[in-house]
């Protein structure tokens, strides 16, 4: 096992996404799913990517994997650099070596992401065989399969079983085992627990967290569950209508609005504030749940100004006219006109 933990928190980013825009083009319409986002991730770090369904989280992940739907998905601009190498410029054959070996992905629904006609050991072994640079023998591969299965808590005796013989939580364990089999440097977990029972969710999240810590893998945790973000992430990025509207360390983003210690009355993007406001707080029983009114804008027809403006309670005339740029304070960054004149926040370069 490579000693990855040593390199933790070094300055060179492992993954650096800059100004990434992704479009889905069909003859009917163009869906602008991701619009100029940028973020970076250092080794061993975990980034939480949060947002509503349709905000562009999965698209971002697929773009990183180079798995956008061939016929329609299309990166309009931007770069995705993995250890300094722009993945978007790699030929498909090189990209295949990246997938599974350097970046692995756990998909949302374990029920459908395993091939129903192959036994689980075949499916895990396949990942190993595809990236078998050190010429492991069939036997060594089988041993490794047993090892990763054990790692996710599945007895080796069940390795010849087929996916339908496992429960949902167990299947997700298999998917995780498959993703981690080649010890990737980056793991993208796309809502890994959404499809699972609540009790199983906690188990799986704990396991992912444990394995990440043990293997020192960097991770992008895509979720709309803020609880999971709080439990697992170093950094959080909030996505809305294809843009990152707020990025920061978990502590920054999770700092509740108007809580003790804040200089200004508003520390968050109104959407983030709304997002957090919609979660019932255990501490503050009196507060009522305040869901955000309205719907996300139609991605085929984004508004001219701020994407959130139509739903925003603090909207100014400027919000409808001009798309806000990002304002930063330390590692915390917010994309909202409200922060333009605020103390301690300054305009950031794109």
């Amino acid at each position: 096992m490579k000693a990855r933990t040593e390199n933790m928190q070094t300055d060179a980013p492992l993954l650096s996404v800059k100004n990434l825009s992704v479009e889905y083009r069909t003859d009917l319409e163009t869906v602008r799913a991701v619009n100029g986002i940028g973020f970076s991730l250092r080794k061993g770090e975990t980034l939480g990517l949060v947002g509503e369904t349709g905000a562009g989280k999965t698209t971002t992940a697929l773009a990183c994997m180079g798995l956008l739907p061939e016929a329609t998905g299309h990166v309009a601009c931007g770069t995705i650099e993995l250890e300094g190498e722009n993945l978007l410029e790699l030929p498909e054959s090189e990209m295949r070596k990246v997938r599974g070996e350097r970046i692995a992905m756990i998909f949302q629904d374990p029920m459908t992401s395993l091939n129903p006609v192959m036994s689980v050991d075949e499916q895990i072994a396949e990942a190993l065989e595809l990236h078998n640079e050190d010429n492991k023998t069939a036997r060594q591969i089988q041993e490794r399969v047993d090892e990763v299965l054990l790692m996710v808590g599945i007895p080796a005796s069940r390795k010849h079983d087929y996916p339908h013989q496992f429960s949902g939580g167990m299947k997700q364990r298999v998917v995780i085992a498959m993703a981690l089999a080649c010890e990737p440097t980056l793991l993208i977990a796309d809502e890994p627990t959404t499809a699972l029972d609540v009790t199983i969710q906690a188990q799986v999240i704990n396991m992912i967290r444990g394995l990440r810590d043990r293997l020192g893998t960097a991770m992008i945790m895509i979720t709309h569950d803020l609880g999971i973000v709080a439990q697992t992430c170093d950094n959080v990025a909030v996505m809305y209508a294809g843009r990152l509207i707020e990025v920061g360390r978990a502590a920054d983003v999770f700092l509740p609005a108007g809580s003790v210690g804040s200089v200004n009355s508003i520390e968050h993007h109104p959407y983030t504030a709304g997002l957090f406001g919609s979660i019932p707080s255990l501490r503050d029983r009196a507060r009522r749940l305040t869901p955000i009114p309205g719907l996300m804008p139609d991605p085929t027809n984004l508004p001219k100004g701020c994407g959130f403006a139509p739903r925003c309670l603090q909207k100014t005339p400027l919000c409808d006219e001009e798309s806000p740029c990002a304002y930063g304070s330390g590692a915390h960054r917010v994309r909202c006109h409200l922060f333009a004149e605020r103390d301690g926040w300054r305009k950031e370069d794109e």
Binding site: A71, T72, Q201, P280, L282, L289, P291, L295
Partner: protein, 306 residues
């Protein structure tokens, strides 16, 4: 905390779904409109139906029956044949263009009538057995097993032989052979739909079985039904042509594409235009119905497109 987060987002999702459902048909039509091949198919099908309806205005039916044996097997006018006979003449010196045109009436009628008959009987029976299930389901499905164990052409032949020729009997025979397959398709999609929660809800609300079937179950299988029916029109026209070939088609001298092709068979080598024109008609009709069906399927199930 986690629980609440999920529920919040789900409520938003549901809104989206409802919003989508209202405009579903509009969207399907919009998608279909963008599918050029399917629109071409639709245009051709509509044109054929229009021509069939206006056949008498274009060329009177009597022209399709008027014999002139001096013109037996005459070539099309553009290929050196007598003037005015665009498709040439058949083995009795009848105007082949008029026969193809008026033949479209019968062929399309057979195609559509049998498809709709199959649709009506098949979907009602399929919905009923799929929804009611139990002993009725067993009984009907075993009976259908018996029907589908008999080769369909032979079954149709025997039925036509027993009932005698004629458009109605042929339609009955062809429909009978197709109903079992249709019932199976509808039944299985009804079984899928019946598991959905809104059916449970309707049931819990005390709705009667026929009401649930008509109001809730069938509308939700409509996509499958439309696709299957458009595909059927093409195959039914072909089945009718096969029956004609086996001598069990509609009675002469009424023109029908399949009958025209099988009449032209003996002149394949001496006067190939006799088989060419009705053959092309069958091809075009079946081709355009098929691409229309494919387009509808894609429009109804956008997953299949990109």
């Amino acid at each position: 905390m986690a629980v609440a987060g999920v529920s919040t987002f789900n409520s938003t999702q549901e809104e989206v779904l409802i919003f989508k459902k209202e405009s579903r048909w509009k969207e399907v039509i919009r998608r279909l409109k963008k599918d050029r091949l399917a629109m071409l198919g639709l245009a051709v099908v509509c044109a054929m139906i229009l021509f069939a309806l206006l056949a008498d205005a274009i060329v009177p039916y009597s022209v399709a029956l008027k014999m002139n044996l001096k013109l037996k097997l005459a070539l099309p006018s553009w290929a050196g044949g007598p003037a005015g006979y665009w498709f040439g003449c058949d083995g009795y010196g009848r105007d082949l263009f008029a026969r193809c045109l008026h033949g479209s009436r019968v062929s399309l009628l057979i195609g559509f009538a049998t498809s709709f008959a199959t649709l009506a009987v098949g979907s009602l029976l399929g919905a009923l057995v799929g929804y009611v299930g139990g002993r009725l389901d067993d009984l009907v499905m075993r009976a259908l097993d018996i029907f589908s164990a008999i080769p369909s052409t032979l079954f149709a032949m025997a039925v036509v032989a027993a009932m005698g020729p004629g458009i109605v009997n042929i339609c009955i025979a062809i429909s009978l052979t197709n109903i079992p397959g249709f019932v199976r398709i509808v039944r299985s999609s009804v079984l899928n739909v019946a598991e959905q929660e809104y059916i449970e809800a309707a049931r819990a609300g005390g709705a009667s079985i026929p009401y649930i079937l008509v109001k809730h179950v069938l509308p939700n299988t409509v996509g499958t039904l439309i696709v299957q029916t458009t595909a059927n029109v093409a195959s039914m026209i072909l089945t009718a042509a096969t029956l004609s070939f086996l001598g069990l088609g509609i009675n002469p001298p009424q023109p029908e594409w399949g009958a025209l092709v099988s009449e032209g068979k003996e002149f394949l080598r001496t006067a190939p235009h006799l088989i060419l024109f009705p053959g092309v008609m069958i091809c075009v009709a079946s081709f355009s119905m098929s691409v229309l069906g494919d387009g509808l399927r894609d429009a109804l199930d956008p997953r299949l497109r990109n």
